[in-house]
């Protein structure tokens, strides 16, 4: 801060005399000043809350001014790790993540490849149809699917009944519930991923495709050997995004449709920790839960970033 106070003097002198300044400002001061606002905001909005959260995770407190925070050491962490549903929830988190990948990476890639040649109005209509689920509010999506999948009078079961399939209890059967939630989550994300792939494909240098065509390559060969490798960074990006956020994206649907049930079949780490942490502003539980997730996903994020850098290098 003292640097900042001293600064105007040499600057004023420099403009007035246009001579060699008397005080030399160290070279790092100017860049440091340029960076200061960014670092200050980052510190204020990201790192200070992070440190504060870490501190609060050692307390038992309900945010009430009428009750005192009680220091409890590692108890909050111990309580969370002792939850009976934790193992199920952790496994479900893996299932959610892996289950979403086909819907957020493979299927969108396929759709983007197939609609690659659709140009003009047809292409726009195609993309709009695929993108629409993305812009519907999640709670609305959940409620609509609940109607569609109702075992008694839902249209899906009516259609299945027409084919002679007995009524399925999509959200009530512990064996199918998680896949139903994964499907609904993925259904909403297909459009987003397709859009990213389509954008990546329009960036491909057309001369490569034309050259291949002149050499007699078939359309499927072009897709496999040229297009897919060139959009691989986007694929990796979407994979990393799904791994880091997939379980989180399903939160709304779990909350509206199953509340983690039946018998914890659809709960995941986010939902479980939210259930135990946020009912009474139990700030110790919540921050401890946040810290645990932060630690776990930092590892995944590091691996993902490393993979992204690798494919980026290969692609160029």
């Amino acid at each position: 801060m003292t640097d900042a106070v001293r600064l105007p003097a040499p600057f004023a002198r420099a403009t007035a005399e246009a001579a060699a300044p008397v005080y030399r400002v160290p070279a790092w001061v100017a860049p440091a000043l340029f960076l200061l606002p960014a670092f200050a905001t980052l510190g204020l909005w990201i790192y200070w809350p992070l440190i504060e959260a870490l501190r609060l995770s050692f307390y038992e407190w309900n945010l009430l001014p009428t009750a005192a925070p009680v220091y409890v050491g590692l108890d909050n962490y111990r309580n969370l790790l002792a939850l009976a549903e934790l193992r199920t929830a952790a496994w479900n988190t893996v299932v959610y993540t892996l289950g979403l990948l086909p819907l957020t990476v493979a299927l969108p890639l396929l759709i983007a490849l197939m609609t690659r040649e659709a140009v003009g109005r047809a292409g726009a209509v195609y993309r709009a149809i695929i993108f629409v689920p993305m812009i519907i509010a999640p709670v609305v999506v959940a409620v609509v699917w609940r109607w569609l999948l109702n075992p008694d009078h839902g249209i899906v079961n009516k259609l299945l009944g027409g084919l002679g399939v007995p009524s399925l209890r999509f959200l009530q059967d512990p064996d199918t519930a998680i896949w139903t939630i994964i499907f609904i989550t993925g259904w909403k994300l297909v459009g987003f991923s397709t859009l990213l792939f389509a954008a990546a494909m329009t960036n491909i240098d057309q001369s490569l495709v034309e050259a291949a065509r002149i050499d007699g390559a078939s359309e499927s060969q072009i897709a496999r050997r040229i297009v897919v490798p060139l959009v691989a960074p986007t694929g990796i990006f979407l994979t990393v995004l799904t791994v880091l956020h997939g379980a989180q994206w399903s939160f709304v649907y779990i909350n509206v449709l199953t509340q983690g049930g039946p018998r914890h079949a659809t709960t995941n780490l986010y939902y479980l920790l939210w259930e135990y942490g946020f009912g009474t502003f139990a700030i110790g539980w919540s921050t401890a839960a946040g810290m645990l997730l932060f630690a776990a996903f930092a590892v995944f994020a590091a691996i993902g970033l490393w993979a992204m850098r690798r494919t980026d290098r290969h692609a160029h």
Binding site: E52, R55, E60, W61, N62, L63, L64, P65, T66, A67, A68, P69, N79, A82, L83, A84, E85, D152, R169, L171, Q172, T258, G261, P262, R263, H264, E275, Y276, G279, T280, F281, A282, W285
Partner: protein, 439 residues
């Protein structure tokens, strides 16, 4: 940061010494509410019935309007918040410095509310003669619902008891006598199995799996168990009485008598005529009656018992708490509380929303509920249970919600899973015990 902690500690120390002085014997006159006055005053009323769509909200608004009409100096601002969210909202507003004056809070939050929100016993702030005059006609078992350690902190307001609703039309189709509803769980199982075999509909749904564990506690009590020990120090849902009750539920599931439904679907299934029996809150009576009209005959019975042991019904619902610290507002708040729990108040609440009247003398009084009771004899089993009501006990400490969650998660696992019931419940009890207040 250390500065921050010390400031908070100082603040809370101040608050706790303040609370300590409230518990001091022989409260001085200064701590009581102000005498009645005609000075203008405005109070807030946090209410969850207001947040419901339709009848609950309309009836509550009607009562507020009736209360303020003759005394225009008192303004009541109704704040609608759903029952699941209302405590969090009250907490948030307290933190923000907007203290609610009157709040309707669920009984399971009682311990937390008393220890953390700085609520004073009503008997300490209301002059004794006024208190006696108002609560004189109330059912003692009902008045006790808002009490902790022998002191009434919240005045019991809207509450219900467990009622076994049954579809008499399905009963007849299955060759069961609708005049002889099952009185024990063994009879429930038998009736459910017959009904299912004859009509291919669902048998019974005992609605004990909600996060609000009042009905579950009633089931435990009926089998000689408890969720929490009487001295409020030990979690006991892993002991034999409770485990026995859960074994009964598992047997219902395994035998096929228990409907395969989620809690959220059970009401719809019953209303659409696809479920024979449902044990749930009497508040659904109106919705069930509407749904049953011209479709099937709806009837109601008391909560079933375990063999010869008498059933011990618990209550759902909420009490009214005065949170205001200002004596003038406290006076207005008390007047509002009195009106909401008056003979007129309960007449509207019982006939329009479907809760129980805390005053039994209005039930057959033609000036109040008389005509309505004659038209709605289904309320009788509910009323009969009122006199032998057991308190829905709130878990203590700041982790009470987590304890309730551990309980319901374990019950779900024990009833619908295949594991050893006693082991599941005992382990859950141990984990819950670790979350109890240390002292």
């Amino acid at each position: 940061m250390t500065h921050e902690i010390s400031r908070r500690t100082a603040l809370s120390l101040g608050a706790s010494s303040l609370a300590a002085s409230a518990f001091a014997p022989a409260p001085s006159f200064a701590q009581r509410i102000a005498p009645p006055s005609s000075a203008p005053v405005s109070i807030t009323y946090y209410n969850y019935n207001l947040a419901s769509a339709g009848i609950g909200s309309e009836a509550t608004k009607e009562l507020i309007a009736e209360f303020t009409a003759p005394q225009p100096n008192i303004k009541v601002e109704g704040v609608p918040v759903s029952s699941g969210q209302i405590l969090a909202r009250v907490q948030a507003d307290l933190v923000a410095g907007r203290t609610p004056d009157v709040a309707q809070l669920v009984f399971s939050d009682l311990d937390f509310v008393v220890r953390n929100l700085g609520v004073k016993p009503m008997t300490d702030i209301v002059p004794p003669e006024e208190w006696a005059a108002h609560t004189g006609g109330m059912v003692p078992a009902g008045l006790n619902l808002g009490a902790l350690d022998g002191k009434v902190y919240g005045l019991a307001y809207v509450f219900s008891t467990p009622v076994l609703f049954y579809n008499a039309t399905l009963f007849k189709q299955a060759g069961l006598d609708p005049d002889m509803p099952p009185a024990t769980w063994a009879a429930v199982k038998e009736a459910a199995l017959k009904l299912r075999a004859a009509t291919a509909k669902n048998g019974v749904y005992p609605g004990v799996y909600s996060e609000f564990d009042w009905l579950l506690q009633g089931l435990f009590l009926s089998n000689g168990g408890r969720a929490l020990s009487e001295d409020r120090r030990r979690v006991t849902f892993g002991e034999s009485g409770a485990v026995g009750a859960i074994e009964m539920l598992r047997d219902l599931v395994k035998s096929g008598a228990h409907a395969k439904l989620a809690e959220s679907e059970s009401g719809d299934a019953f209303m659409s005529g696809n479920l024979g029996m449902i044990l749930t809150t009497s508040v659904y009576q109106r919705a069930f009656l509407n749904a049953a009209k011209d479709k099937f005959e709806l009837r109601a019975a008391k909560m079933p018992s375990f063999g010869d042991k008498p059933a011990r019904p618990t209550n759902s619902g909420s009490a009214l708490f005065i949170l205001s610290k200002d004596p003038v507002k406290q006076r207005a708040a008390w007047e509002l509380v009195k009106y909401m729990t008056s003979k007129r108040g309960y007449t509207v609440i019982t006939s329009k929303i479907g809760y129980l009247p805390l005053r039994l003398d209005i039930v057959d009084d033609p000036q109040y509920l008389g005509a309505w009771t004659r038209e709605n004899p289904m309320v009788r089993p509910n009323l009969e249970q009122l006199t032998r009501l057991n308190q829905w006990v709130a878990f203590p400490g700041s982790n009470y919600r987590q304890i309730a969650r551990i309980q319901i998660a374990a019950v779900n696992e024990a009833v619908f899973g295949d594991g050893d019931i006693a082991k599941i419940m005992r382990e859950a009890q141990e984990r819950a015990q670790a979350l109890m207040p240390r002292a």
